[in-house]
Symmetry: C2
Subunit: 417 residues, 2 copies
């Protein structure tokens, strides 16, 4: 392919290793892992091994994982902790009657609804789900998009049960200080213990964007709930997982045959789990080299682009200088219309986007860039560029040249308009 | 493979056609269908075409389908009609406060909770989900497992909102008279119109077991909600769909990017949908020949087995004589332990089960056979046999012989015990 693909944050091709791992499970070892005969038991074993491998890469065990159909389902399941932790197991579905309500009221300190806080720059899968629970928003710092820890502290109340902060942002690539957040949560837990406040407090993190570049480890990061996505790390689509720390109670979204320890029913997607595991292993094996490769590509790209533009316009590279995912290089050309650039570059087979695919397709302005304090002009002129395995030095240089050409053409057009 | 696989109701191998259709979408056309550039738009088009093809085979349109991660999710989503139709869109998640409750109480006739009725022989994905909503159970007729229509009529009340009956049962293969059920529903709707009862009444059907053998058509069957499964018709695992008739309101289980018309968020599983569509087309193209093939195999199997047993024990073929899926041939050997037969036959590479995989794996006795009035002895001695594309006349004859041998060995063992 001669195309230059700069949207790895949006989708990745299935890796050869992941594909090869899946292959036997399509038409040969196709058995239902719950069936009683030997070949089915072997499929069960392969499935459980895949879960172990995925879990192992994040410092967890197979039993800590609930396999899902992707990151969005995993995040929705994580948020069910708000139903499970403070109300009975049936509270989600059964309409409350006055009698049941007052019985709950008698519980005393848990009478108030459980609260949730999410970072204002989270992906739609977190934000929309959070809205269903009436979430409060934590502010980020202007420019970097890093969490404002003081703002977080000021918003935690005695009824806060869940805090959700992505390991890294999916537009700016901002890497959030999860360990520091976990420390704040630890203090609050200790305070609750003293005050005899029985509310639990959990940290959820969406690691979808971060998984390919950061060493994600639940023990080190001290997250209680972690969303994993296969599709963003060259694994099969339609597969994800939720890490659930021991003792955290969830309310299943999907009930039935009782698979995944009754937390997620439905016949197991065996090829999907096997492919996800292979992709995770491959990603983990190349984590250090990937970071170096992409830092290098990013430097080449930035320098080439700046040189080519030759001062006609100063590209504004977005996000934090440090603490940015190595493969993220969002950039803005204030005053230009980024959508026009996307279509111009499409003609040259350079593929990139203006933001998260699901939001951009609806013509929504990026809530992430807005929260990070960018001006309307900067937002309108911004491109999300994310490098990946389909890129090399030559492609990145060519991309910088073609983007510079498109930018200069647009500047020319505006001058003559 | 020399194995003889008689458990097609539990899992099917991915067909060559489905696999070939999926192939380009793994590593080449891997783009996010919501991304703005041309190759991504082509993926969007392929995805929507796949949905159209799936919809077309059941007499519906692409927009009537919500793609899911399988039949279980589809059924869970169908049941959300109980949250969406009679309460506000947020009723599922937001805890009721006394103020909101009394506001709802003011609605008058809709004060009582919406009710749901399910057939007592439904799959766990329906039964467990129904239990969350406190469902009533409709009885089946002894032996055949056909729905008792009088019992259904007697159980419908003014607050019934959903009736769920599988197109065909997944253990007995019993084909239910959906059109007759739809007629009963139609009468009830007319009565409600007269009585100014604003409650809607919907028919949901799980077509997972039936899809490969019956001509499923939503207009003819008059179902409002229909669960489809890819994995049971030689399509990829982890894919399903819910047909939703125009005007039926659901409450999404999974929120986020707003895919599937806001009813099911998450990046689309494009290869999955493409493979499912190819499998659906292939299934539909061979529907008539499949029915003939399997009726023939069933006759051969029954005759061979009866002959081989030579009167030492009379096999009890279960389910209705007519109105049974052509590929289902459940059989009982009263007095024997079916689990011992399964393990004996496993040694001969004959693979079959004692019931639904997810239930059998937990050692649960079949609730289906119990509801159909079988004695404990008949249930303990019953095998679920389901034919499929991995079978032919020779394999089925061999299977009958090997099963007869195993049965005779067991009879011998018991005689000497």
């Amino acid at each position: 392919m001669s195309m230059i693909y700069l949207d790895h944050a949006s989708a990745t091709p299935l890796s050869k290793k992941a594909k090869a791992a899946m292959e036997p499970f399509f038409a040969d070892d196709f058995f239902n892992p719950s069936a009683p005969y030997l070949p089915a038991k072997r499929v069960r074993e392969a499935y459980e091994n895949a879960k172990s491998e995925i879990a192992h890469t994040i410092g967890a065990k197979a039993n800590d994982l609930v396999m899902t159909s992707g990151a969005t389902e995993a995040t929705n399941l994580a948020f069910s902790v708000l139903n499970a932790s403070t109300r009975g197991p049936d509270a989600l579905y059964r309409p409350s009657t006055p009698a049941r309500l007052s019985a709950r009221g008698a519980a005393g300190p848990l009478n108030a609804p459980p609260l949730v806080l999410v970072l204002e720059t989270e992906h739609a899968s977190v934000l929309r789900t959070a809205e269903n629970y009436g979430a409060g928003k934590i502010k980020v710092k202007p420019g970097s998009g890093l969490i404002d820890l003081d703002n977080l502290k000021s918003k935690i109340t005695k009824d806060t049960v869940l805090i959700s902060v992505a390991a890294a942002n999916n537009e700016l690539g901002t890497i959030q200080p999860l360990a520091e957040i976990a420390e704040i949560i630890k203090s609050e837990r200790q305070a609750r213990l003293k005050n005899k406040n029985p509310r639990p407090l959990y940290l959820h993190s969406d690691a979808s964007a971060a998984l390919g570049l950061l060493n994600i480890n639940v023990a080190r990061m001290k997250t209680d709930l972690l969303t994993l996505s296969s599709a963003k790390i060259y694994g099969p689509k339609g597969v994800g997982a939720l890490y659930v720390a021991h003792g955290v109670k969830l309310k299943p979204l999907i009930s039935g045959g009782g698979q995944e320890r009754n937390l997620r029913s439905g016949t197991e997607n065996v090829p999907g789990a096997i492919g996800f595991a292979a992709a995770m292993k491959e990603t983990k094996d190349h984590l250090n080299s990937a970071a170096k490769t992409f830092e290098n590509l990013k430097t080449i790209f930035k320098n080439s682009l700046t040189d080519e533009l030759n001062g006609e316009i100063e590209p504004v590279f977005l996000g934090p200088k440090k603490r940015q995912l190595a493969n993220f290089c969002p950039v803005s050309f204030p005053g230009l219309d980024a959508e026009r650039l996307v279509y111009k570059l499409e003609e040259k087979e350079v593929y990139l986007s203006t933001g998260a695919a699901c939001a951009a397709s609806k013509g929504e302005k990026s809530h992430v860039l807005k929260a990070a304090g960018l001006t309307d002009k900067e937002i309108a002129g911004s491109l999300r560029i994310s490098f990946g395995r389909l890129n090399d030095e030559a492609k990145v240089k060519t991309a910088a040249n073609l983007i510079a050409d498109a930018v200069k053409e647009e500047l020319e057009r505006l001058k003559n308009a």
